[in-house]
């Protein structure tokens, strides 16, 4: 692992984003616009209950799509092959991606959180910083899963189709639409093995102003562990040699 190579890669990814201002604008503006829309269609009470989870879902979805397409391009354009003939390690490359997209996720979550907590909600929860941190972890989770599915996509069409296939079930089962406690045993089990469920649990707990308990720490650890596991799986799909 070389910090210099990881840093160079993060800079390169961010420079690529800088050359694509439309994508950056969409990434930053759309979540805020959707949150405002949500505030419009829900009552204040309903919005206060669902908005913390939405703060985690936006970076998760956005970073999943951006990373899967960006990594697929890297694989199909031949730049990945070029990089893997250099001394670039897989860990350097993944760390570079994580750094760049983690930063992007932080900016996105920061903006969406500022709007939600500062303007749209009736009250500011006591743990705003932890809330944003968990939203950033969601961004990293989306990124790691995006890296992983890029290995199973031959085209950008396929990569984008993994969004409804892998992301939407997690959104449906995370407790946003119906509380996890009320699910049938089978659905509950499915919900329990999906990482976004823990992110949603944690975000909901952090939105109340009770002291941070063991359960929130456990949620944070489970989401972090899922990010690491998905990154390790993604690393195993970066092959230096083809058969």
């Amino acid at each position: 692992m070389s910090p210099a190579r990881a840093y160079a890669t993060a800079r390169r990814v961010l420079t690529q984003l800088r050359h694509d201002p439309r994508t950056v604008a969409l990434m930053l503006v759309v979540p805020c616009a959707l949150l405002a829309l949500l505030r419009g269609v829900l009552s204040q009470q309903q919005f206060d209950a669902t908005s913390p989870i939405m703060l985690g879902i936006f970076p998760f979805v956005t970073l999943f799509v951006v990373t899967s397409v960006a990594t697929l391009r890297e694989r199909t354009s031949g730049t990945l092959e070029r990089l893997l003939t250099t001394r670039m390690g897989k860990a350097d490359l993944l760390a570079g991606y994580a750094l760049a997209f983690g930063l992007t996720g932080t900016v996105q979550s920061g903006l969406a959180s500022a709007l939600t907590l500062g303007v749209l909600r009736s009250s500011v929860p006591g743990h705003a910083v932890l809330l944003v941190l968990l939203a950033v972890l969601d961004a990293l989770l989306g990124m790691a899963l995006g890296l992983l599915v890029s290995a199973f996509s031959a085209t950008e069409f396929q990569a984008v189709q993994f969004m409804p296939a892998l992301v939407l079930p997690q959104v449906l089962l995370c407790g946003l639409f119906a509380p996890r406690s009320g699910m049938t045993a089978g659905l509950r089990w499915l919900s329990d093995v999906l990482p976004l469920s823990y992110a949603a649990d944690g975000l909901q707990r952090l939105a109340t102003s009770q002291p941070v308990g063991h359960d929130v720490v456990a949620d944070l650890l489970i989401v972090t562990g899922s990010v690491v596991a998905a990154l390790c799986l993604a690393a195993s799909t970066l092959r230096r040699q083809t058969r």
Partner: protein
């Protein structure tokens, strides 16, 4: 052999072959892509891999640079192809440009320099080498195909590699540019760099020091100069020689003459 002559020779020619392969075989999905290829590339020469598309040129090149698994023996710069020690020591220009179209020329080269711990001052030098100094601030996606190929070549030249492997680098380039690139390849070889260049354009074979003719994953003829090939086959051009060899191989059912 006169010892005075041998000491006067460049170090690269004393170092033994840059590439030496025995029975290199690649089977993919039950199809034999490379069938027991024997190859020896002398150091400091321009070595041409010639053959029609689908003959296995790209697979052989990918095996050389370490991204394709193979059976048999393939030594590159004294290490088995794909060995960790070879990473960053071979300049590789794949058929597609393999550069970031959403970065400028200079940003691409600075990144490839950074990840290989090459001083950024090399960027200017390699850009001048490929005649792209004026375009360093342009987005690669806005360049012509030929210019993109040269950006890719510049990236491969950054680390001053002893071995440069190029997969059809002149495809789609205009004749003037092709001539300039081949002149650049000759200069690099004169400076001690070994170049392995694939092409399906037979007239480019004339510019190589040695040739390997590949057909359907098998070696038709290896390690001959264009002049020797013409003399051996009595053909007027490498193209005619190739056609003659293919017909002869089909007639006898024996691919090796």
């Amino acid at each position: 052999m006169d010892p005075l002559v041998s000491t006067a020779m460049p170090a690269s020619t004393l170092a033994g072959p840059a590439v030496s392969g025995r029975a290199v075989t690649v089977v993919r999905g039950g199809r034999v892509i490379l069938d027991h290829i024997d190859v020896s590339v002398p150091s400091g020469q321009v070595y041409g891999l010639l053959g029609p598309s689908g003959s296995g040129k790209t697979t052989l090149i990918r095996a050389l640079v370490g991204v394709q698994r193979y059976a048999g023996h393939l030594d590159v710069l004294g290490h088995p192809a794909g060995a960790r020690q070879l990473r960053g020591r071979i300049g590789y220009v794949s058929q597609a440009p393999s550069v970031y179209v959403d970065l400028t020329v200079a940003q691409n080269l600075r990144y490839f320099a950074d990840v290989s711990a090459i001083p950024r001052s090399r960027v200017e030098t390699v850009l001048a080498h490929v005649g792209l100094s004026e375009r360093s601030g342009s987005l690669v996606g806005r360049l012509s195909g030929g210019e993109q190929t040269r950006v890719s070549l510049a990236a491969a030249l950054l680390g001053e590699p002893r071995l440069l492997v190029l997969d059809e680098p002149t495809v789609g380039l205009d004749p003037l540019l092709r001539r300039d690139l081949w002149a650049r390849f000759a200069e690099l070889a004169a400076g001690g760099t070994t170049l392995v260049i694939s092409s399906h354009v037979m007239d480019e074979a004339e510019r190589c020091d040695q040739l390997l003719l590949l057909r359907q994953g098998q070696v038709l003829v290896a390690g001959v100069s264009p002049a020797e090939l013409r003399r051996r086959t009595g053909a007027e051009s490498v193209e005619a020689a190739f056609v003659g060899l293919v017909e002869q191989a089909s007639a006898t059912g024996e691919p090796r003459p």
